[in-house]
Assembly symmetry: C2
Homo-oligomer: 352 residues x 2
């Protein structure tokens, strides 16, 4: 008996493909704007405090939770080995608008690969992409998916890592004009450090792929590669010219999104988290799973309501849709963090 | 387009099934023997020394390697974040004879599930298992695999963990009469602690399944669940009676053996190891991958040549076959550790 897994590059399954919907509505929102200068952190020891968090109920909920689980001898005490904190990445630790940054990278890879693929010149998806005809592109999803699969596969994982790093070192965000890796959220950097200073292990659990996050997550977030849980592509071990390599196949292996997130947590972490932070319906099951733990736990959602400093979106949005998880947050008493009201700062100060 | 993954429970793919071959030759080697009392460790600080290792070239190779990669300012220095050490489990960190211990557990689960499956009474594999007719059982592999799949699936991961823990707390090894978790190798416990004391992160990378190792690996080896890489079964997220659970499906998801080991390392660790320890052909690619790193590295094989204190096997063996990896160790100058000659002690002293 043979059973089939997910169809390869199925539109439901692929987070990068999920983003393709957005191409439809891209035209109006990619014009460059000036960078909004964030406020400076006010404390000299970000590991121990949360200077970019305003003194609101959200910050109080975090501090109260951490105090409870670290108070030895109390009924709410959790030993360090079980202090597992999981964070979504896109829209929770860094921006995700107007397109998931990974999807921008993958489209750029299609453009970069074009000289090696003269046969693409008559491909309707490729023509639409080059012409920035997003209406036509939206009608060519399957063809676009195939281009993305070809352009982002076939190479070794080491070569792909170098490609990602080179792109991150030069590509700039259309609204803020900054490197994408500068668009991490300053309050979350402080929160990660604060949790670690209190004995937590911090993990990313993201719909993005592991290789796209790992090349910069340790430097940006202090999260090492083995604590980055994400979607993954099939890779195959080969010995090429006497040298062992891992080669990327054009098939998705695991989608770490929605109901996949608790599965990713089980497979890669093996402990139930006691702290989970997300921002969209893709995080619903991760938050449910965390909130169902037997002891003290904290489930948080970041609400994107700050059109001035970032973007105002999420309810009924195409990227970062926050409907079901919002409703459950209200019902279950999860903590909703308002970017506008609860954060003093959004992004780190630009480097001099 | 839909592509099929590995056939479910295919005999090639399943490590637990691979072990089924051994059933053929079981009859003669399961009679209980007295436990061979191991020598006591001779040092009071096992984290900093290797008291159960004799002063031979194997121990010198380890100590020399660790000195080289931790010497700041030297060309061989490796920063702590990249000091990744990977260990196979079965036959490398604990015994694996006469049957992979996990396979013994899974067969016991078939027996335990029998009262809920009256339809099994005429199943030829079940009849052979109960009658200990290993000749007949060897001809019923497919039927046996189906029984194992049914008996070890359908429950939540939490319930399965409890089942594993209960089995490990009572089942005893046929030769040594000890709990299976007592049959870890004392020199390897010291080596794990020694590496960690020198800034290494230690990982298991095993063909065994993650859940079977995680319930005891942290206590036994000091390796937390998130540092246990292994084979895994498909699990599905469900909300049952309002409670989120993960349910085990009767399908294997990933086989962390052979060429799968570098893939497991890539997916779960994200760094190339600089230290790898195995004992069989299933570790060949993990050792190749480690040995292909650009800097200083150490690849080791444990040679099972001690019939008195453990078992003498591995060349052309069915469990723990060591042919290709042995040949490559000779060619490439990997370190072969003789259990008989290089280890002062094999197992920890029995608990009083």
């Amino acid at each position: 008996m043979q059973l089939c897994h997910q169809p390869v590059w199925s539109s439901r399954a692929l987070l990068m493909m999920r983003a393709a919907w957005i191409v439809l509505s891209l035209a109006g929102c990619v014009a460059p704007h000036n960078c909004v200068a964030p406020a400076q952190p006010t404390a000299s020891n970000p590991a121990a405090t949360l200077p970019s968090w305003r003194d609101t109920s959200a910050k109080q909920a975090i501090e109260s939770f951490v105090a409870d689980v670290t108070r030895e001898g109390s009924s709410s005490f959790v030993p360090p080995a079980e202090r597992i904190a999981v964070f979504d990445n896109d829209g929770t630790l860094w921006s995700e608008q107007p397109l998931y940054f990974q999807f921008v990278f993958m489209l750029d890879q299609v453009k970069a690969a074009a000289p090696q693929h003269p046969e693409w010149k008559d491909n309707p998806a490729f023509k639409a992409l080059i012409a920035k005809d997003y209406g036509a592109l939206a009608n060519q999803q399957k063809a676009l998916q195939q281009l993305v699969a070809v352009a982002n596969s076939g190479m070794t994982v080491d070569d792909y890592d170098k490609t990602i790093s080179a792109w991150l070192a030069s590509a700039r965000h259309p609204k803020f004009g900054r490197l994408y890796t500068d668009l991490v959220y300053q309050p979350q950097l402080e929160l990660l450090a604060y949790l670690r200073a209190n004995g937590f292990k911090t993990f990313i659990v993201s719909g993005g792929t592991i290789e796209f996050m790992r090349v910069w997550a340790e430097k940006a977030y202090g999260i090492p590669p083995e604590q980055v849980v994400g979607s993954s592509q099939v890779v195959q071990y080969e010995v090429r010219n006497g040298k062992p390599v891992l080669v990327r196949e054009p098939k998705l292996d695991f989608v770490d999104d929605g109901a996949g997130k608790p599965v990713g947590i089980y497979r890669n972490i093996g402990h139930k988290p006691i702290f989970a932070f997300g921002n969209s319906d893709g995080d619903l099951q991760m938050l449910q799973y965390t909130a169902a733990g037997p002891g003290r736990h904290l489930a948080l959602l970041l609400h994107h309501d700050d059109a001035v400093r970032e973007f105002a979106y999420d309810r009924a949005s195409k990227v970062g849709k926050l409907d079901k998880a919002w409703d459950e947050a209200v019902t279950e008493g999860w903590t909703v963090v308002s970017m506008k009201n609860d954060w003093q700062t959004v992004f780190p100060a630009p480097r001099q």
